[in-house]
Amino acid sequence: MKRKQSRKTILLLVPFFLMTVMFLVIPMALMITSSFTSESTGGFTLDNYIEVLTNSFYSQSFLNSGLISLFSAVAGLVLAIIVSYAMTNLPEKVQDKLTVYINVAANFAGVPLAFAFIILLGNSGVFTLFLKDANLPLINGFKLYSWQGLALTYLYFQIPLGILFIYPSLKKIKREWKEAAFMLGASSGTYWRKVGLPSIMPSIAGTFVIMFANGMGTYETAYALTGSNINLVTIRIAALVSGDIYARPVIGSTLAVLFAVIMMAILALSQMLLKKVRRDLA
C-alpha cells in the first residue's frame, strides 16, 4: 500500500524532470561537447582549454568577475541584514507593503538601472555637471564607467535581493527567544551571538552564495554600463558566442564550462559549510 503510493508520488515529479532535461541538461551537454571540439577540424581536442588557460586575458576576466561579485555579495549581505532587521521593527502592515516595493527594486537592474545611473552620474550626467558647476568636491575622481560605478550599481540590486531571502528568516526569530535570553541575563550582543545569528546562519550562508552567483552571472547591467571596457567573464563569453567580428563560439563554450565548474565548486563548498553550521546547531 505504502509502496504503491510512493510510486504514484514519484510520477508527479516527472514534469519537473522533463522540463529540466529538455531545457537545461541537453543544452548543457551540447556546450560541453563543443568545448572539446576543434574549431577547424571538428574532431575531439583539448586545444580550446589550453588556449583559454594560457591566455592571461581570459584568466583576468575570471578574477575580475570574482572580485566584484565577492565585494557586492559581502557588502550587500551586511546591508541587507541591517535593513531586514530594521524592517522587523515596523508595524506588520508597513512590512507587507515594503516587501512589495523591495521586490520591485530588486528588479531594477540591467538596462534601466544602468541608464538611470548614466543620466545621473555619467560623464555628462545631471549630477556630475551640477556638482562640477557648483565646485563641490563630493564625487571628485568618481568614474561611473569603472569599478566604482560597477560596484555601486551591483549593490543597488544585490541589497534588495538579499533582503528578500534574509527577511523571512529574520521573521522566524521569535520575540519569546529574545525575552527568554534577556530574562536569563544576556546582553543584546550575547543574544545575537548565541541565539539570533546562529538560528539564521544557514539562511545567511545560502543567501551569500545566491548573491555571489548572481554577481558572477550578471551580464546586462555591466554591459549596458561599461560596454566591453571591463573584462568580465559573462561579457567575454557573450562577445565570443554572439559577437559580430570575433565570434568564436567554441572558445565561448570552453570559458562557459570553466565558469560552470568554478561555480559548482563554490556551491559544493557552501553546501559542506552549511552542513557544518547545521551540525553545530544540533
Binding site: L13, M19, N107, I159, S253
Partner: protein
Amino acid sequence: MKTKKTHYISYLILALFGLYMLFPFVSTFFYATSTKWSNTMLPNDFTFKWFIQLIEDPNFISAVVRSFTLTFTTLAVVLVVMVPTVFLVYTYFPKVDQFMKGLVLMPYAIPGVILATGLLRMYSGSVIPMYLVLVGALFIGSLPFMYQGVRNSLESIQTKKLIEAAEILGANRFTSFIRIILPNIRLGLLITTLLIFSSFFGEFVLTNLLIGGRYETIRIYMLRRMNENGHLASSVMVAYFILLILISLVITYLTSPDRRGRKNSNRKQVPGKRADRISLAEPLKSVSILKIGVKKEKRQRI
C-alpha cells in the same frame, strides 16, 4: 524605553536605504517629465509630452501585452510544476532533495547567454516553437529562486511535523498539501511569486536571443527607444515601473482573498492569534490544523 530607541534607529536605517533605492527612480521620473535637464539640481520644466508620445505608439501597447502574455504563461507553468515538486521532494524524498539543491543552482553556473546558445542549437528549426523554448528557458532561470523560496517557507513551518500530525489524523497526502501546507506557506509563496513575476516581466537576455525582434517585449522596446531619445526612454521606464508596482499590488491582493474573512473568523475564535502563523512554541500542532480545517469549512459555507 530601550525598544523605543531601537525603533528610531530602524527608521533612520530604512530612511537611508529608501533614499538610495529611490534616487534612480525619482531622477528617471524627472528626466521623463522634463524637456531639458542639465547643470541644475532639479529640472526647470515639467511636461507630459513624452508620455503622450509613448501612449500614442501602438508598438508600446503591443509590447506591454506581449510581456504580460509571456509572464503569465510562464508563471503558471512554474507554479503548477514547482510547488508540488518542492513539497514532495522536501517531505517524502529527502535523498532527492540533496540532488535537487545542486540541480536548481545550475542556472547560476550557466549564464543566460550560454543557455540560449545551447537552446538555439538544439531547437531552432525544430518542431518545437521557439516561444515554448523561451518559456522553458525562463522556467530554468527561475529554478533557484523558486526552489529556495518554497523550500525556505516549508522549512519555517516545520512541514514534516505538520504532515505527520495530519496523517495521524487520517488526512491523505493531497488533502494535507492543499489544506494545511499551502495556506501556511502563503507569505513565502507570495514573496517568491512576486520576485519571479517581475523578473519574467523584465526579462531581456533570453527573450532577445531566442525570439528577438519577432516578439518585442517591453524590455526590448525600451532598449530600442533608448538609442533614439533619452527622455522618451525614461518615460518608458517610468511606465514600466508603475506597471510593475501595480501588478505587484494586484498579486498581493489576489493571493490573500481570504484576508478579511480570516480576520473576522479569528476574532471570534482566538482573539489576536493568526491561524496561518504557527508558533514554534506551540506544543500541539494538531490544534492549529483543526483550526484551519474549521475555518475552511466555514468559508465554504459562506
